[in-house]
Every structure is written in structure tokens, then in C-alpha cells.
């Protein structure tokens, strides 16, 4: 499998060394929505019949997602669009057979036989009869698909070789949960944002190096309602606001250059000020201009210093995805960590947790917060690595031999089947030195290895990690801001055109020490179950070795004519 976290994007804020997390336990009780009653009524009617059918349905789950989303986009000084929509989507999850063997069972390396349909739009008004008609129709559709899949699985099992995880159930048995949380609402005046995106993008017209700019403001109030045949009944709402800034340029040789920055907040009063936005834009332009002038990097292996947010992306890709529970079971997966529980997989000063119950880390919002996962399981603080030793996986309801239960990490984008995913991945270090001290250690390491320079990685766009068999067990991180750091005291030199590559088991053991300031990266991560909001947090990190490789080159040269707004500029004079 390839994970493309290309949309993974960061916001950087420095913090003191000891991260102070704020957790939110689900405890608030509010009024249940009428949709819960409608879903329960239909479930009560359905289960007695389908559980006695052949094959029997032993687990049915109804999830209704209500999404109120506003989006305001601007580009190059003009408003692109501004809209707000309300939609409701129904997902029916059907398990036939038994917990031990059901329609979701994967056969050999061929993967899943069961292909459920993604989602059904249902009324945005609480008309129970219409909702129930839609649930009934979709339940029938899913039951037929699941029953057909189970027959195929039972036939295939007779001819397929068994794997070590073969005796493990297909689905975990869990305690039911009842939680009625407050529903999220959105009261947004888009008009001020329409002017802001115009003004914020008009700023970039001052620079002839910024070829294109796009700013997107989104506000979402999502409510999730879920009932299942085990007795779970959950309702909760989340509000998220996001401002994304993206600019594109080209180096003189045609290489694509871009800079990206985002602000995330959940409370309207935390909206970024104009000053903060313009300050970010100023930095972005400066970096884009500098990248245009920067020389091309060359393939290199040697000491590497990752800033906090680069380290956060590094751990998300290199460790986080490989520690997703279902990958340890799937015969088509590389199963990097499957047999490593209890073993040292990285230096003993590193510990990693994934904690979706955290809403904030110091002042930073954590995008990977959720009270319940998409399988109705409460989110949990999970210690994945304790002092270098692998302890646990991010678990959904697909159990493993030694991990028979979910730890609240079954996640999905609406319409996809939940699988184990990351929430808030937080890297902690017991061998932290000040960032200044770490830089000294970095210089020493360059000298010790006799290298002409080391590599400082300040920003990563995201990356891929290959976890499937038949592929190299490697990762590639798309580097955006990379410097050569010379041991002789010369100024750091910005370079462009390089990505970072490596293999996970080696890279993780190459960590020498960390800084003392944790940085947060908020983004949207894409994998088999779609795009989900995540956060990763880590301090600055020194590695004895990582590899730089050349980036795939773009084919088109810079525009032939000068920008219309800068047609009469003096050559070489930047405005």
C-alpha cells in the first residue's frame, strides 16, 4: 500500500519542553436527536429478522453524519467562491457470519471481497419515515453484498494458505457505549471572510515571483449519530475552522516551487489576526523568493537535523502508518512491526503516544481530537512506544492475536470503511537538550563523520510510505525547505529539488538526541479509509543519517511573458 499524505500540512508553533496536554473526556449529556430514535427503531425492526437469516447478520451499525460546511476561497486578489451547505449521509455497516469469521475477512493477499457501497444522502430534516425508508433500503443492499461476500470467503478459505493471524477473529466484541453529547452548530457570517480572502491574496500580487495564490477558509460543524446492534448509541458534534494559504512559483529552470501555511482553530475567538496572516504571508514570499535563487541539492547521506514539525511529519509517516493495527494482519502488508512488540525499535529516550482525547497541546489545537472513533468506541490515550520499546498498535475493531480489542482508533472519511488510523501522535524524549545545544551536537556529528556538510530540514510537505509487500519497505518525504549546514561556520545554504528517503527500521535507530521544544503539525492524512484530520507533535531531532534524493522534475519552463502586473518592471528589480 502507498499512503499519500500529500495534503498533510503543518502549522508551526513553538512550545516549552514539557508539553501540557488538555484532554476532553466525553461526559456532557445533552438532548438526543430524533435521528437516533429513527435509527434505533429501524435497527430494532431489522435485527430480529436478519439475525435469523442465512447467513445471519450478527452486527449492524447505522451512522448518520451531518455536515454543515462553509467555504470561502480567494485567488490572486479575487473571490473564487463562497458557499455554505448542509448535508446528511447515512452509512450502514453490516457484518454477517460471526465475530470469528465474517464478510470482512481478507482472503490471502487479494484483500477484501466485501465492497460495501459508500454512503447514501438522507434528508436534512428530521422526517423519521423518510430516513427509515432510506435505512431499510441501504440495509437490504448491504446485507445482500455481505452475504454474497461471505459465501465467496468460505469457498476461498478452502484453497488459500493460512497465515499466523488466521485464528484471530475478524471483528472484536466490544462493550456498548451510550453518550449523548451536545450537537455542534455553525453561525457564520461569510461576508467578512469574502473580503479577507480577497485582501490576503491581493498581498501576493506585490511579488512577481508569486505566480499563483489560493486561500481557503473552511468552517465545519459535524455531528455524528451512531447506533449499533450491540447497544451503542452515540451522538457528538465537532466544530473546526481552518485557513489555508498556498502560493506557487517557479525557479528559473522551471522547477515548481510552492509554500503552504495553515491556521486551525475551534473557537471563533482564536481566529488568526490580520497581522498574523500577513506575517505568515511575508515569510512565505521570502522563502519562495529564496528557493528560486537556491542551488539544486545533490544526493547525499549523512547527519540530518529535523525541526520539530519536520520531525512530527517524519514520525507520522515512518512510524505512525506502520503501527496501524490492521497492517500487522493483512497478508499483503510488509508488517514491519508485527513481531516486534516488546522489542527495542528505537533509542530508549524516545516514547510515542497516540492520544485522540487531547484537544490541545499547550496553546495549539490538535486536529486529531475526537471523543468517539468511527466505530463508536471512545478514543483512548495509547502508549505505542515506551522508552524505545514497541508496546502497542493503533487499533480499530479488527483484532490481532495479542490485541483483541479496539483502542478507539477506527477512523474513516465519510463513505469509507473504518480502519486503524492515527489521531494525535506525540513524540516525547527523555534525552532533550536545548535546540542550540542540539545544533552544536549536529556540527560535531558532521565533523565526526567527516562529511562536508549536514542537512537541516525545516519543512516537509508530507510524504509517502510504502507498506505493502512487493514494494521496498521505504518512505519518501517531500521536503520543502532544506539547508546545507557547514561545520566551518559558514551560513546555512538553502537548497531545492531534494526529497528525503530511507527505510524505517534503520532510520528510527539513527536518532541521536532531541531538542526541548515540541512543535505541532496539524493536517489531513490520506490512506485506505480516506482523509482524516490528524496531528503529530515532536521536538527537533538529530539523526546520524538520512538520505537526500533528487525530486521528480517538472517539465515546463517559467512563463514566457512577464506577469501582467509586472510587465513594466525593470529586469531584476523585484517589487
Amino acid at each position: 500500500m502507498i499512503f499519500i499524505a500529500g495534503t498533510l500540512s503543518a502549522s508551526l508553533h513553538a512550545m516549552p519542553r514539557k508539553p501540557e496536554g488538555k484532554r476532553s473526556a466525553p461526559q456532557q449529556q445533552a438532548a438526543p436527536s430524533p435521528v437516533l430514535a429513527a435509527m434505533s427503531a429501524e435497527l430494532d425492526r431489522t435485527m430480529p429478522i436478519l439475525s435469523n437469516a442465512a447467513p445471519p447478520a450478527y452486527f449492524v451499525d447505522y451512522t448518520l453524519s451531518q455536515v454543515r460546511a462553509a467555504e470561502v476561497m480567494g485567488s490572486n486578489g479575487a473571490l473564487l467562491n463562497s458557499s455554505e451547505n448542509l448535508q446528511r449521509f447515512l452509512e450502514v455497516r453490516m457484518h454477517v457470519g460471526s465475530y470469528a469469521l465474517d464478510n470482512t475477512h481478507k482472503v490471502g493477499a487479494g484483500g477484501s471481497v466485501y465492497q460495501p457501497s459508500p454512503y447514501t444522502p438522507v434528508p436534512v430534516e428530521d422526517d423519521a419515515a423518510v430516513l427509515r425508508r432510506a435505512i431499510w433500503l441501504e440495509t437490504d443492499r448491504q446485507y445482500r453484498a455481505a452475504a454474497e461476500a461471505l459465501v465467496k470467503i468460505q469457498t476461498s478459505k478452502e484453497v488459500q494458505a493460512t497465515s499466523p493471524e488466521e485464528g484471530v477473529p475478524d471483528f472484536s466484541r466490544e462493550q456498548p457505549h451510550t453518550y449523548i453529547g451536545a450537537e455542534a452548530t455553525l453561525h457564520l457570517d461569510r461576508k467578512p471572510w469574502e473580503q479577507k480572502v480577497r485582501d490576503y491574496t491581493a498581498y501576493f500580487r506585490q511579488s512577481r515571483d508569486v505566480l499563483n495564490s489560493i486561500i481557503t477558509f473552511t468552517a465545519q460543524a459535524n455531528n455524528q449519530y451512531e447506533v449499533n446492534s450491540e447497544g451503542t448509541k452515540v451522538q457528538f458534534g465537532l466544530v473546526r475552522y481552518r485557513l489555508e494559504i498556498f502560493i506557487q512559483g517557479k525557479a528559473p529552470d522551471g522547477m515548481d516551487l510552492d509554500r503552504y501555511y495553515n491556521f486551525d482553530w475551534v473557537d471563533p475567538k482564536d481566529q488568526p489576526t490580520d497581522e498574523a496572516v500577513y506575517a505568515a504571508e511575508k515569510t512565505m514570499v521570502a522563502e519562495l523568493v529564496a528557493l528560486g535563487k537556491a542551488p539544486l541539492g545533490e544526493p547525499f547521506a549523512g547527519p540530518t537535523l529535523l525541526t520539530g514539525r519536520a520531525a512530527a511529519v517524519f514520525f507520522h509517516e515512518v512510524f505512525g502508518h506502520r503501527d496501524e493495527g490492521f497492517r500487522q494482519k493483512d497478508a499483503s502488508e510488509g508488517q514491519t512491526f508485527a513481531k516486534k512488540v516488546g522489542q527495542q525499535i528505537m533509542p530508549s529516550f524516545i516514547s510515542i503516544i497516540d492520544d485522540p482525547t487531547m484537544t490541545r497541546l499547550n496553546k495549539d489545537v490538535l486536529l486529531g481530537y475526537y471523543p468517539f472513533d468511527d466505530e463508536g468506541i471512545p478514543s483512548e490515550h495509547v502508549v505505542l512506544v515506551d522508552h524505545g520499546i514497541l508496546k502497542n498498535f493503533e487499533m480499530s475493531r479488527q483484532p490481532l492475536k495479542d490485541f483483541p480489542h479496539s483502542n478507539g482508533h477506527g477512523r474513516r472519511q465519510i463513505g469509507a470503511q473504518p480502519i486503524s488510523r492515527q489521531g494525535n501522535l506525540i513524540v516525547e524524549s527523555s534525552k532533550a537538550v536545548s535546540n542550540a545545544e542540539l545544533r552544536k551536537m549536529f556540527i560535531e556529528e558532521i565533523k565526526k563523520q567527516g562529511k562536508p556538510y549536514g542537512i537541516l530540514i525545516d519543512d516537509l510537505e508530507g510524504g509517502f510510505t510504502f507498506t505493502g509487500r512487493g514494494q521496498p519497505q521505504a518512505f519518501q518525504l517531500e521536503a520543502l525547505v532544506v539547508y546545507k549546514v557547514y561545520p566551518d561556520g559558514r551560513p546555512d545554504e538553502l537548497i531545492r529539488g531534494v526529497d528525503i528517503g530511507g527505510t524505517p527500521l534503520v532510520s528510527l535507530t539513527n536518532i541521536i538526541a532531541t531538542g526541548d521544544t515540541t512543535e505541532v503539525f496539524n493536517g489531513y492524512c490520506g490512506a485506505e479509509s480516506g482523509s482524516v484530520p490528524v496531528a503529530a507533535a515532536a521536538p527537533m531531532m538529530l539523526l546520524s543519517g538520512l538520505e537526500l534524493q533528487k525530486k521528480a522534475a517538472s517539465t515546463d519552463k517559467p512563463p514566457m511573458l512577464p506577469p501582467p502586473a509586472h510587465e513594466h518592471d525593470q529586469p531584476g528589480v523585484k517589487q
Binding site: 485567488s75 451547505n85 457501497s117 419515515a129 425508508r133 433500503l137 480577497r198 517539465t555 511573458l561
Partner: protein
Amino acid sequence: MKSIAMLFRSIAICSALLCVGLAGTLRAQQWPSETADQTLKAMHDELERSRQGLQSSEGEKPYFIQYRLLDLDARTITASFGALISSTATHNRFMDVNIRLGSYQLDSSNFISGAPFVGFLGSAGQVGVDGDYNSLRQDLWLATDQAYKEAVTSMGQKQGFLRSLSKPPEVADFSQEKPVSEVDPRVVPDWTNRNWEEEAKQATAAVRAFSELYAARITYTLIYETYYVMNTEGTQVRKSRTLAAIEASIETQAPDGVPMHDFYATYASRPAGLPSAAEVAHQLQTRATRMMMIRAADPMPAYSGPVLFEPRAAASLLSQMLAASVSGSRPPLSMIPAVDEIMEELGGRSEWSGRLGTRVLPAGTSLWDDPGAANAQGDPLPGSYAIDDEGVPAQKVNIVEGGMLRNFLMSRRPGPDSAQSNGHGRNVYLGDPRTASSNLFFQSSDAIPPADLKKKFLDLCKQDGRQWCLLVHEMDNPEVGISHSQDSQDELRSIVEGVSSGERAPLVVYRVNVADGTEQLLRPGHLLGMNLRTLRDAVGIGNDATLFSYIQSQQQEIAGTALAAFGTATNGVPSTVTSPSILFDDVEGREARGQMRKLPLVPPPPMPPKQ
């Protein structure tokens, strides 16, 4: 090269009037007025700069640059069984830049390569809705640069491919047309004072009483567009167009497990032209009642004999059979053989190419296309327009006269039989304009009243010694009629398998008793071998011409094929076919290949009347 600047002055003078004129050879001038349309001004200024500035290191300049811009205001309202599913209102603007290198005879277009140029932004995209001059210039500048690089890449690949052919095509790549200037006043969206959400709910609430109805869905689509075309030949057009659509589907399952559906679709040239909620509710109730009868009816058995198509069914059949053959434009050259094969399989091959002057339809019949046609009240038909999407004035085209093929519909892509456009280049959402019909009319000088035609039909059946014959009342459109995309795709696939050999899917079919003329509903099957040769040999045509409006899909691969008749309001161009009843003396039919599904184990939940 002609300058287009003067044309802008005429816009300023008669901005509130319809101005049609031809551009002369004019000198570049300053933009005349600060209050003029900043969109046109930005398009003009960047077009002029590109025309002067873009050239290769060898000094070669594009011979043609065209900017198109679409301002799109759209409302979409969906409801089911009286409850609102969604209601959206959007306003967006899109641009597209086309650059041609070479000459009208041989240029960089009309070529499908395996490796097109992929730039960092592309030559089309979304632009600001403000009509902001500076941002639009910036966007057009980048898109122009990308379009130029696309053209350079395509030209190189095309020249290489042509050298590998023993006989390169002789047909020119692009037609030369007179420039046109027509700047219509911008139309401000008028959604009327009707409450569309309430209407959508009311219309579908009416079918709650049908307890066996699995699904019922209605979508109102209201679209206001302003379309801009400007090119280096001197054409500049700003025109508005409106489309209002109601598309509704109802679905159930027969007792033997076969999925069933029916639909209602109506298209108007403006929202106020749409029928009332009460009328739509009545239409849906009628269809639901009919579907319940069909559900209990016998399946259509294997059949071979006379078939009578009533006017709406005949019109839909014509829209499927004629889509590929009325176009005289040649298909693009392709390095990928699969592209031609797909077109062939989907019924996209012209049966009339190279047959000008020969009889292609029954003697006495005429077929013409009139983009300027209006209805009895004087309102334009949904498929009407004055200037096509390539900026060419629309012409009425007599395609067949007295059964003889006289002419083709043409866009600016020439074909073996015709080199000039007659204003039939159409597109949706700034896709490549393709040759398409607008308002097609089919009639016969030997037409007879419907009662006489039915008698003729029954006489034919008697001659065959048959006890009953088939009458087709309505043809299917699975894209509109089935709400679940997976089911709709399954149904389409069952049609696609036979579409190139003329397999067609009726929706409402009657068994007509030869002895007494009584009609009995059947579960529809498929009709086979219904291509233009079948139409040429039709044995009777009525004088009961009826207008049928539909959307011609412009989706890639489907546009221009028989399947394009299955468009929906958001993927194609509004079109009409006016046809009378048509009688065929020998058509084969067979039971549909529909999948028999198990009936739901759980009975449907109650659906009380709407409070």
C-alpha cells in the same frame, strides 16, 4: 492579424442592445470606458499581449488564440418522499484558453496522444467571481502560457505521428470563420418568487402513499450562465443562457426480483417555465401508478414483428440513433487505438459519413436542426441559441430532404463532406465544443393521422398472422431514472453491450391485441438492431409531432455517441427532438437482461402521509 479593440467600442455604445457585427481590420486602441465590463477588458488586454508576445525561438507565433469564460450561477434542490435532501446555491467562474499552432489546414489540435503536456496549472481553471481586472489578467496569463506549451507539445507529437502514416488525413483541422461581435446584456439570475425547496418537497410527498415504492427522488436544477468567447480572429461574444430542469426517479422491485424504475424529466429555458408542484406531483403519481401495474405485468417475451413508436418514444429513439450521424465533423486523430474502439462500441460512428446525396431516410421525410426555434408561446426551446459556443452564428440546417442526405451539422472542426461551421459547436462547462444538434425536427410529407397509423400497424400484424404486437410509449433514460449510481451503472452496462448494434431500452411497452386494439402493459424488454437503416425502412409516419426535450451528455467518451441521449441537467447541453409516431414493420425484441435480486427480507417501514 486583426485587432479586436474596435469591437469593444461598439460594446460600450450599445451595451444594452444586441449588437451583431463583423470586425474589420482595425488598429489597437485604448479601452474606451472605465465602467465597461472589466471581464471583457481583462480578456482583451491579455489576449492582445499574448497575440503580440508569444512566439517560439524560431519566431513562430500561434495562428489562433481563444479565451472562453463561464460565469455560472446554479441552484440544486433535491428532495425525497417530501423531505429535503439538499439545497445548494453556488456562483463560480471558469476560464479556458485554447491556442493553435500551425495553420487552419494542419494545426496542433484534433490529436489524442498518449503523453500530453502536463504543466503546473493547466490551461483551464477557476477564476474570481468579482470581475476583478487584475486577478483575471493574472489567471489568463498563466493559462495562456500553459495552453501555448500544450500546443507546442501536441504539434510535435502530431507531426511525428503523421509521418508514420502512409496517408495522412486531408481534411483541415479548423474552419476559417468570419469574426462575430455580439455582447448581450448580462442576465441577472431570476429564481422567481417560487419556493423551490417547498415545491420539491410537495412534488415528492405525493408518492408517500405508494407503500411498495423503494425510493423516490426529485432534483430541481436551475442554471444561469454568462458565456464569454474572445479570439484573435476578432470574435468576441458575451451571451447568457438559462436552463431549468426537473428530474425525478421512482424505483421498486418486481415480485420476481427484477429492479424497476420510472422517471419524469422536463426542461425549460427559464425557471418560470417549469411546471407547478401540483403538476409534477400529478406526473409522479401517474408514473407510480403505472409502475405498480408494470410490476405486476408479464415480462415482454421474445418478439419479432411490427413495432409502433409513439411520438415521445420515437423522439427519444431518434436522439439515440442520430447523435453520431448528423455530425459531419471528423473524429480527432488518435495514437491510442482504444479511443476509436470505445467510440465504435458506444454507437459513436457515423452511419452517414460520405453518403451526401443518397437516400438515408424514408422517401418524403425531412430532418432539420433549428437552433433558433421557439415554442408556440414564442419562448425559446431549451436547446435554442443564437450563437454557438465557438462564436459562430447558429444556422438552421436541412440535413435530410425528401429522404436524401443534404447536409451535416458542423462545428469548426471540418469533416470530409463540409469545411465550414454552421453554428453547431456546443459544450458544457467549457469542455471542447463538439458538433451537436440543438432542436431537431423530423417529419414526413406522407404523414397520416395517428388513428390511421395504428390501423396500418394492426393490419401489418394481421398480415403476419399475429395475435398481438408491441407498442412503445416511452423510452428509458437510466441516468435519470435510477438514483443509486451503482444500479444506474449496472443498467447502463446492460445497454452498452448491444448499443453499437442498435439495442435499445424502452421503458413503457404495451401489448396491443390485434383483434380489438386493446392495450395491455408489459414489463419492458430490449429491442434489437434499431439503427439508422431500420429508420430508413420505417413503413409509416404519423402527423402527431410532439416535442421531446432532453440533455445531450457532453461527458468524455460518451459525447456524440448513442449513450449521449442519457444526459442529466448537470452534464450536457439541452436539446429537443420533435418527432411524430413511427411504425417499423420488423423489429426484434427480447426479455431484459436485468438481474433478479432477492427481495428484502425485512418489509418496508411505514410511511405515513406528510403532516
